[in-house]
Symmetry: C2
C-alpha cells in the first residue's frame, strides 16, 4: 500500500498568540516500515496548552519543535501496517503521534487502548494524560483531603473539568473559574461544581473569591495563573497547596507580566506551590487509570469534549481556538474515521 501523509509542520516561532501562518501543511509519501515498526492511521489528535511551549525555542522540559518539523502531540489511532509481532494490524494505540495523518512508531512508544471499554476519544482525555494529570495533580501534588475547599482555574478545560469532578467525589467544596457564562453554567449544572464564576465579566476577583470560598482555599489547582493567583493567595488556608499544572494566561505574552510579590504570604500560610509534570508519575499510571475507569464507568466522571471536524487541516485553528479558551472540555481534532 502506498500512503500519502498530510502533516502540520511548524513554519515559524510565534510572537504572542500563534497564528495559522505559523504552521505549514505538507503532503509526503509514507516511507517503508523497518523491522519492528508499525504504521498508525491517526484518528483523534489532542491539542493542548503545553504545545505552545514546544513552539518556542526557550529551554523547557522537552526540546522544542524545530522549524520544518512535524508538530508534536498526543493522539490515538489504529495500526494499518505492521512489522511487529506483538502489535498487529487493527490494534488501537495511543502515543505522541504528532500532527499528521499517519505515524510510524515502535511499539515501545505506544500504549494499547481497547475501544470496547470506552469511546476512543477517552484515551486522550479522562482515561489518558488529561485524566492522569487531574488525578495526580489533585491527589498527589495537591494532597487533597475530604471536605476541603478546592479552587480550580481553567475549570471548564480538559484537565480542570476532571479536577473538579474528582474533588466532588472526595466530598470537597469545588469552586471553578472559567471564561464564559456558558462554561460557568456547564460547571454548575452538568459537572456539579458548588460555585463558579466568569473571570472575564468579574471585576473584583478578591471579593468574588471571598464570597465563594467563605472557609478559605485549601487547594488551588492552577491551570491559568495571572491575576487570579494574586487574588487567591491571600485566601489560602494554613497548609494550603497549589498544584501548578499550567499557566495558560502567560504563554502568549510578548513580555513577562509584572505582579506584586507574594512569597512572604507562603510563610504566613505555610503553603506550598508545586509545579508538576505527569511523566514523573508513570510508574503509578495503572492504578490511577483503574480508578479513573471505575469512576467513568459508574457515571461519576463526565468527560466533556469538543471535536473539530475537517481532518488534519483543522488542527491549527483548533489549537489556536483552544488557546483563546473556545473549547469546553477537551479539544480534539478528528483526523480520520474511528472505523478500522
Amino acid at each position: 500500500m502506498n500512503f500519502t501523509n498530510r502533516q502540520v509542520l511548524l513554519a515559524a516561532r510565534p510572537l504572542g498568540f500563534p497564528k495559522e501562518s505559523d504552521f505549514k501543511i505538507e503532503d509526503s509519501p509514507v516511507p517503508p516500515l523497518l523491522q519492528g515498526e508499525v504504521l498508525i492511521r491517526v484518528i483523534f489528535l489532542s491539542v493542548d496548552p503545553y504545545m505552545r511551549g514546544r513552539m518556542s525555542a526557550a529551554k523547557s522540559y522537552a526540546k522544542p519543535v524545530e522549524i520544518g518539523e512535524v508538530m508534536t502531540g498526543g493522539a490515538v489511532g489504529v495500526i494499518v501496517a505492521s512489522e511487529s509481532d506483538t502489535f498487529p494490524i487493527g490494534t488501537y494505540v495511543v502515543g505522541d503521534l504528532g500532527w499528521q495523518q499517519f505515524a510510524i512508531r515502535n511499539p515501545a512508544q505506544l500504549r494499547r487502548f481497547d475501544p470496547s471499554l470506552a469511546p476512543l476519544s477517552t484515551s486522550l482525555g479522562v482515561l489518558g494524560m488529561t485524566g492522569l494529570t487531574a488525578y495526580f495533580g489533585l491527589l498527589d501534588i495537591g494532597q487533597l483531603k475530604d471536605g476541603e475547599t478546592v479552587l480550580v482555574s481553567g475549570a471548564a478545560g480538559a484537565v480542570g473539568s476532571i479536577v473538579g469532578q474528582i474533588a466532588k467525589l472526595k466530598s470537597c467544596r469545588v469552586v471553578g473559574i472559567a471564561g464564559t457564562d456558558h462554561k460557568v453554567d456547564f460547571l454548575l449544572k452538568e459537572l456539579g461544581f458548588d460555585a463558579a464564576f466568569n473571570y472575564k465579566s468579574t471585576k473584583d476577583y478578591t471579593a468574588k473569591l471571598e464570597q465563594l470560598c467563605p472557609s478559605g482555599i485549601d487547594v488551588y489547582f492552577d491551570n491559568v495563573g495571572g491575576e487570579i493567583t494574586d487574588a487567591a493567595i491571600p485566601l489560602l488556608n494554613i497548609h494550603a497547596r497549589i498544584p501548578v499544572c499550567g499557566q495558560i494566561s502567560q504563554y502568549n505574552l510578548e513580555k513577562p507580566e509584572l505582579a506584586p510579590r507574594w512569597m512572604h504570604q507562603l510563610i504566613i500560610k505555610r503553603a506550598k506551590v508545586h509545579g508538576f509534570l505527569i511523566s514523573d508519575f508513570a510508574a503509578q499510571f495503572p492504578k490511577a487509570l483503574s480508578d479513573l475507569a471505575a469512576w467513568y464507568k459508574a457515571g461519576k466522571l463526565k468527560f466533556p469534549e469538543q471535536i473539530a471536524e475537517g481532518g488534519i487541516d483543522a488542527a491549527p485553528a483548533a489549537f489556536i481556538g483552544m488557546l483563546h479558551g473556545e473549547n469546553l472540555g477537551k479539544q480534539l481534532v478528528r483526523i480520520s474515521s474511528s472505523e478500522v
Copy 2:
C-alpha cells in the same frame, strides 16, 4: 523584693523601616506573682526579622502587638522569684519573654536551659529557634540530599549561617549571598561555604549565580526574597525545592514590589516553593536539638552572634540595625548579667 521593670512598648506602627520613635521605653513596678507563676530576669533578648510583622496590623500567623503593648520576642533569663514547685529560683529558662527586664510567666510557657552544656546565648541561636529553623527548613521542607547544590540568601544572618553549615555537613556545594564583603569573607573563611557573593556590589545576579552554581540549584533556602529569587528560579534543577523562611527584602516596603511572574517555571522544573514556620515541627524538636547539640559540641557548627550592650534601652537600635543587615550571625541584646 520590689522590682522596677523597664519595658519597650510599641508606640506607633511603622511605615517602611521602623525608627526608634516607633518604640517607647517605660518603667513600671513588677506586680506580685500568682500561684504557679515565676518571675524571670531577662539576660539575652533575641531580635529577629519576624518581629517586623508583629509591628503591623496586617493579618498574619500571630496577632500583632498592639500600640502600648510590650514588644514580643524570644529571650533567655533566670528565675529570681517563684511560686512554682517545679521551676525554682536560679533556673535558666527560654521563652517569649518580651522586650523587658523582667517577665512573669507560667512554667508551661518556658523551656529549661542548662548553662553548663553550652553558653546561654546558644539557647536563642544554634540550640534554639534559630537552629531549629535552619534544621527543619533545610532537611524537612528542603528535603536536602547529600551532594546537592544549596543556595542560601541572608547567608550571614542567624538562620542562614547555620543552614550553610548543615548543608556542608551533608556534603553539599553551598553558595551564600550576603550584603557586605566582610560577611562574604566570613562565610568563605570561617563557615566553609564553597562560594559567596555580596549582592550589593553584584550587578548581574544571573551571571553570578550561573558562575557559582554550574550544576544548577537544588535547594534555594530563601531568607530574603526579591530580585535574587527572580535570578535563582531559572537556574533551579528538576525537582528543586525552595524553603521560604523569610522575605526580609519585602518587610519594610511601603508598597508591594512588582516582579515578573515565574510560576510557569515551576512546571518546567517540577519545583516546589514551600513556606514554613518552625512551630509546626514542635513535636520533633527534641531529636533536632540533640542533632544540633552534637554537631555544636563536635565543633562542626559555629554560631556567629553579635551582642548589643546597653541593656533594654539598646533593643530598638539593635532591631533596626538587624533589619538593615548590620548583624553578622545572630543579633542579641544583653539585658542583664548572665550571673545568678
